[in-house]
């Protein structure tokens, strides 16, 4: 148990350090003065002096890196070139939106995919199985933004049931309840499109695992004991197929975060990914670096959450033996 967690934690720290190092070096390999990626020429001389001091720009590179790591870990992310305000102030309001989009899309698509996959495995050759196979291969080859653009065209232009852009209506509705409803209304199409794009590959994977598991001896035994079909399917077969499903959850995470960046752009959501794009387009380097860092952090945190779920689901880890993968 301890070895599993220490290895996972070590992995997370390694990824975190890599993200920070990538951030640090990417913005320093640029042509010209490294200072120009942190200090905008338009800043006042006092501000320039202060930033130089804060980032230790006159110190050797390794000292600069240490200072940088400390600043990143304390969310002291520098000052945006475009708005001239601390980047963290700007990012703070966007993080919940990205988390809501990612979280709802992940949970819904994995739940739907798992359910359909299990159904497809039970009734081989049925309608569900065909649906699962087709939607799976579609989700592999259709660009996410294309599907989302078509959905936007259909449900925001041709049949205007959903908003064309934004995370909330402007002006905001008065009551808290109406505001929540408004937020959901804006979230439904982006999150829904991610579910449509995502459930297929889940379903295929779960189906393949379940087909294999349902052919095993212990399922035959469960049948021989006369257990009800639902219980065999979920408590016996799916329970033992759960750990590898969670592994896929882990592997799919980075792709889903990438997808969120595109989704936020298509639907013009007030999120971290859209902020990253806007900052890159506006050559706002501190803001771009910070947005990249936050996205990396989100991935790491959800990675750890999936690890925790894996530890709960796999008795070999819960009980404490070394995991073999």
């Amino acid at each position: 148990m301890r070895s599993y967690w220490s290895r996972r934690a070590l992995g997370a720290v390694a990824v975190l350090l890599l993200v920070i190092a990538a951030n640090f070096f990417l913005f320093r390999i640029m042509p010209g003065d490294a200072v120009s990626t942190i200090v905008d020429p338009r800043f006042s001389p006092e501000a320039k002096e202060r930033l130089r001091e804060l980032f230790g720009l006159d110190l050797p590179l390794y000292r600069q890196f240490l200072i940088y790591v400390r600043r990143m870990l304390t969310f002291d992310l520098g000052i945006s070139f475009l708005s001239q305000r601390p980047v963290w102030e700007e990012l703070k309001s966007r993080i919940p939106n990205t988390v809501a989009l990612l979280g709802s899309a992940l949970l819904l698509s994995s739940a739907l995919g798992t359910w359909l996959g299990v159904k497809a495995a039970r009734r081989r050759g049925g309608l569900t199985e065909k649906l699962v196979l087709v939607s799976g291969s579609v989700s592999f080859s259709f660009p996410s933004f294309f599907v989302q653009l078509v959905l936007l065209l259909l449900f925001a232009y041709t049949f205007p049931v959903f908003p064309l852009r934004g995370s909330v209506s402007i002006p905001l509705p008065e009551s808290a309840f109406a505001r929540a409803l408004d937020y959901l209304w804006h979230l439904l199409l982006p999150a829904g499109s991610l579910v449509i794009l995502g459930f297929g590959s889940w379903a295929i994977y779960v189906r393949n695992l379940m087909v294999k598991t349902l052919g095993e001896d212990f399922i035959l035994l469960a049948r021989a004991k006369g257990l009800p079909e639902g219980r065999i399917l979920w408590n016996h077969a799916f329970r033992s197929a759960l750990p590898p499903v969670l592994t896929i959850f882990l592997l799919a995470l980075p792709g889903i975060v990438s997808g969120a960046v595109i989704t936020e752009t298509v639907f013009s959501l007030h999120g971290v990914g859209k902020y990253l794009l806007d900052s890159i387009m506006g050559h706002d380097y501190p803001a771009a670096g910070a947005a990249f860092y936050i996205l990396g952090l989100l991935t790491i945190v959800s990675n750890l959450a999936a690890d925790a779920a894996y530890a709960l689901a796999d008795p070999r880890i819960r009980v404490g033996r070394r995991i073999q993968r």
Binding site: G11, A14, V15, L18, V19, A22, L26, F27, I29, M30, S137, F140, S141, F142, P143, S144, F145, F146, V147, L149, V150, L152, L153, A156, Y157, T158, L164, N208, L250, L251, L253, P254, G255, V257, S258, V261, I262, T265, V266, G273, L276, L277, I280, M281, H283, A288, G289, A291, F292, L295, G296, T299, N303
Partner: protein, 396 residues
């Protein structure tokens, strides 16, 4: 003879269109051909289709059956040559019978005509104020319009009359009035070029790293695989975005960046293959007769890994194409280079939605999807050729 899989046939068709298509276009794809957001000819409701016709020594009169509102513009271009002294006029007759002289000529030699209904000189020649529309004067109602050349026949030359319609081509026009079909055809090249060359770089990297990792084993293997794990657990698109933002948006920068960040999968597959081959009897025999590491790697492991790499190339191309399209869609590509992702970016950014211009979104999107499906299927069939165990069943 066995018929090749559909994907190979489609691939060669796409390749042919990518090579021949741009050459067969009469106009450059960047040229404005009709009004912005003109729908395709076959879908466009009451908007008039584009019209063009010729006047020549053989046919000195042209009739235009016009059943729509006045067109946006009218252009008349060309040259007529006379070998003797003449007086000639170009006369426009409306359905009501009123006549307008568009241009006249006196003398001998070449008569160059370059008329545009938006020109001030054209309007003043017709006697209307410079801010009025000339076409509403020339097209007062629906019916038969006649353009005729009065005077003796010219010895040679021809005139072309063009009326841009409200509908255009097979796929309409975009926000700048460019022909979407030409843009679509030219866009194939970028997808193929970036997809294939980025994947080639990635596969070469993956092959060498995988072979080294699997064959060397030990600390090097451990280190490389940790690096792969870490790279696979951070979202790649934000890194690509940052790199493109810093390095520039050129095509070759994009290829290089994509190649550098998509070798991990191939490296993993090749490594596991090399790992199992390293322990196999025949490699052990080779070693026992004194074969060096380089010799074994080059003459035995590399050919064994080739089919796997070939399949990886084919299976990796969709990823690279999707990544390129994604970056272009986000606007992180050279605006001078036409690609399908760029088309979608412009459609999203420049008001295709408010114009309801589905013809700007569906063709490039479907194009990307079809190319990806083709490469996926080719990759699978290469895999089957390399590994006969996959053949037959078809379903997993």
């Amino acid at each position: 003879m066995k018929i090749p899989r559909w994907s190979f046939i489609t691939f060669f068709l796409i390749l042919a269109v990518a090579v021949i298509g741009p050459m067969s276009l009469s106009k450059g794809p960047q040229e404005t051909v009709a009004k912005p957001f003109a729908p395709p000819v076959w879908s466009g409701g009451d908007a008039p289709p584009p019209f063009s016709g010729n006047l020549s020594p053989a046919s000195k009169e042209m009739t235009i059956e016009w059943d729509w509102d006045a067109p946006e513009n009218l252009t008349l271009r060309g040259q007529l040559a006379y070998d003797k002294e003449v007086t000639a006029r170009l006369v426009w007759t409306t359905p009501e019978g009123s006549k307008y002289t568009l241009s006249s000529f006196q003398g001998s030699g070449v008569w160059s005509i370059d008329l545009d209904a938006r020109d001030m000189t054209f309007k003043t020649a017709l006697g209307i104020p410079p801010f009025a529309g000339a076409t509403s004067l020339l097209f007062p109602s629906r019916g038969l319009h006649v353009l005729s050349l009065e005077g003796p026949s010219p010895s040679e030359g021809s005139l072309e009359l063009v009326l841009p319609g409200g509908r255009w081509g097979l796929l309409g026009t975009d926000q700048r009035g460019r022909d979407v079909l030409s843009l679509f055809i030219v866009g194939i090249r970028v997808s193929l070029l970036v997809g294939i060359s980025a994947t080639l770089i990635a596969s070469l990297l993956g092959l060498s790293i995988g072979l080294a990792s699997g064959y060397l084993g030990g600390v090097a293997d451990n280190l490389i695989m940790r690096v792969v794990d870490v790279l696979l657990s951070i979202p790649i698109l934000p890194i690509l975005m940052v790199l493109v933002g810093i390095w520039g948006k050129g095509l070759w920068q994009l290829v290089l960046i994509l190649g550098l960040f998509s070798w991990m999968g191939t490296a993993r597959t090749v490594r596991s293959l090399a790992l199992s081959l390293r322990e196999s009897c025949y490699v052990e025999n080779l070693r026992s007769i004194g074969a060096g590491s380089w010799y074994i790697l080059y003459r035995h492991l590399l050919p064994e890994a080739m089919p796997v790499v070939l399949a990886a190339v084919s299976l990796g191309v969709p990823g690279a194409i999707l990544a390129e399209a994604g970056l272009s869609f986000l606007g992180l590509s050279d605006p001078r280079i036409i690609s399908w992702g760029r088309m979608l970016h412009e459609a999203h950014g420049f008001g295709a939605f408010t114009a309801g211009a589905w013809w700007l979104i569906i063709p490039p999107g479907l194009g990307i999807s079809i190319i990806c499906l083709v490469f996926l299927d080719m990759g699978r069939s290469i895999e089957e050729m390399a590994d006969p165990r996959l053949r037959g069943g078809g379903k997993s």
